[in-house]
């Protein structure tokens, strides 16, 4: 096993992780996103609220993998199918799934 080729990626990964955590620690609280606003990141841990809106959950969960699709991309019925697929793919909780679906169906 080439130890140098383990250390290098581990070091790189650790640096990236440290950078990410440092960036996360430096983030400032942001106002809650509205249904009309562009997707924004959620408030940091210190400001985490137990109840998040569907818009906020949509912005947080979907943007981790891909660009957020406009709510107008699908009809209510299509969003029901698409969101079930995304719930399974992204391991969303039932609450997250329900709130995001309601937001998409109200904003399309």
């Amino acid at each position: 096993m080439k130890t140098s080729h383990i250390i290098t990626p581990l070091f790189t990964g650790a640096l990236a992780l440290a950078l990410a955590l440092a960036l996360a620690a430096c983030q400032t609280p942001k106002p809650a996103a509205t249904a009309d606003a562009a997707p924004k990141s959620a408030a940091p841990l210190a400001d985490a609220r137990p109840e998040k809106s569907g818009n906020q959950l949509w912005a947080e969960n979907c943007t981790r993998c891909h660009n957020n699709r406009s709510p107008a991309a699908y009809s209510d019925a299509q969003w029901e199918v698409a969101m079930h697929h995304m719930r399974i793919r992204a391991n969303l909780t039932a609450e997250e799934h329900t709130k995001i679906l309601e937001f998409l169906q109200s904003a399309n």
Partner: protein, 447 residues
């Protein structure tokens, strides 16, 4: 002078004086009581114009407020009746929508997927155009049962290849557990499960170690439990699965000896694999994951991986930063490779080596999502480093390292034009050390 001549002269003089006087009166400047003929004509023309405009206005107003009814009668509509009609229209639209949703078989199926076309010029190969289509079929049977499937149609040299990426039935046991059976994208790391789609992958090709031709599992056949739940302010997600095990390469290309091939759906060797992944999200933007897979049977291997992902918009850089990566370790014990004799030459001696491989990638992308210029907002720059390390002591397979820089232009939320340049370095292997570059373009669309 006779008298009648004198009389005529006086009469003519009187007449002349009278007409002169009359003429001078018509040229007299207007006073308080009189206007000139010119002014009179001017005023008369203006009055006629006003009359015509008034008539036009009256006609237009009458036409705007009168509508013929269905029976051909003209009906005058007021503001109140307009408002009532609008409300009725909204109600009818809602009723129609409800009726549509209630129809059996009209709302449960959704065809999505993605496609791409591109061009790649790689070292040692002639430049070629490429294309592919991956339709995804989704069937929402009811609130608990769901079927999903993805086909992958790609191009080989002489034919079209059809590959079943996944096809599985899932059941929502409760808010935190989903049971799944069939072929599914293996929850080992995150690239296969989440990032491999052409419109999601920010570069035109896949990382060496974790792509479909890598050393990590991609999609396997079996059963799985998965879900997510909150743990205080954090969120956790998990997956546990049992699948048909991979195939161990024991013949064919020397460079492939000892590799675990996860593209085989099942083998005859009763090989099984058991594994899982846990992901932790201490904050919504950051996810850290650990994956493990244990393979029984002839392969008898252990694989594990770490992965991370961080995505956030920053005002300071006026855009979104996306950092992700994954590293995989594969240990399939010791492997003994017996080369075959070529021609009249004696066969080389057997090679025994620790069948361990590792590799992964780290990627960073920046998009100026907060720029004021819409054209700039659509650009995205991407950088990726990836590496694949072959077993120590097995020099027939080359270690490979790539540095890739890419520039994307997003035409829409899920439509992107990508261009990437790769710096490739290979060491070892049958061909020896190699340095080369690749140029790749791709247009990808998710639908």
């Amino acid at each position: 002078m006779p008298n009648h001549h004198r009389l005529c002269l006086v009469t003519a003089s009187l007449l002349l004086a009278g007409s002169t006087s009359l003429y001078s009166q018509t040229d007299k400047p207007p006073g308080d009581k009189y206007v000139s003929r010119e002014e009179h004509e001017k005023l008369k023309a203006e009055l006629n114009t006003l009359k015509a405009q008034m008539a036009e206005l009256v006609n237009a107003t009458a036409a705007a407020t009168k509508r013929p009814s269905a029976e051909g009668k003209t009906v005058v509509r007021t503001a109140e009746s307009e408002s009532g009609i609008d409300e009725l229209r909204e109600e009818v639209a809602k009723i129609k929508q409800t009726a549509e949703r209630s129809k059996p078989g009209t709302t449960n199926f959704l065809l999505t997927g993605y496609g791409f076309g591109g061009f790649e010029d790689r070292p040692g190969e002639s430049g070629k155009f490429t294309a592919g289509l991956s339709p995804i079929l989704l069937w929402h049977i009811n609130d608990r049962l769901f079927f999903e499937s993805e086909l992958e149609l790609g191009l080989a040299a002489e034919e079209t290849e059809v590959h079943l990426e996944y096809a599985n039935l899932s059941y929502l046991v409760n808010g935190y557990i989903t049971a799944k059976v069939g072929k599914f994208l293996t929850p080992f790391g995150t690239f296969a499960d989440r990032y491999h789609a052409a419109w999601i992958n920010k570069l035109p090709d896949q990382p060496l170690a974790v792509g479909e031709d890598g050393i990590a599992p991609f999609s396997q056949v079996g059963a799985q439990l998965s879900g997510g739940f909150r743990l205080g302010p954090m969120k956790l997600n998990y997956a546990l699965y049992a699948v048909n095990g991979p195939r161990l390469v024991t013949d064919g290309e020397p460079a492939e000896m000892g590799r675990l091939m996860f593209d085989s759906n099942f083998t005859d060797t009763n090989s099984r694999a058991y594994g899982g992944r846990i992901g932790i999200l201490p904050i919504p933007e950051l996810e850290l994951g650990y994956s493990l897979q244990y393979v029984t049977g002839p392969a008898n291997a252990r694989l594990h991986a770490v992965d991370f992902g961080y995505t956030r918009e920053f005002d300071a850089i006026k855009g979104k930063l996306d950092v992700r990566g994954q590293w995989v370790w594969s240990d399939a014990g010791r492997f003994r490779f017996v080369p075959e004799a070529e021609g009249d030459e004696a066969a080389p001696p057997p090679i025994t080596f620790n069948n361990r491989r590792n590799g992964g990638y780290a990627q960073i992308a920046y998009r100026p999502t907060k720029a004021t210029n819409d054209f700039l907002r659509r650009f995205e720059i991407v950088g990726r480093w990836d590496r694949l390390n072959q077993p120590t002591g097995f020099r027939l397979a080359a270690d490979e390292e790539q540095w890739t820089v890419g520039l994307n232009y997003w035409l829409g939320d899920s439509t992107v034009l990508k261009g990437a340049y790769e710096f490739i370095h290979r060491s070892g292997g049958e061909s020896g050390n190699f340095n080369g570059n690749a140029l790749i373009f791709q247009a990808a669309m998710g639908f």
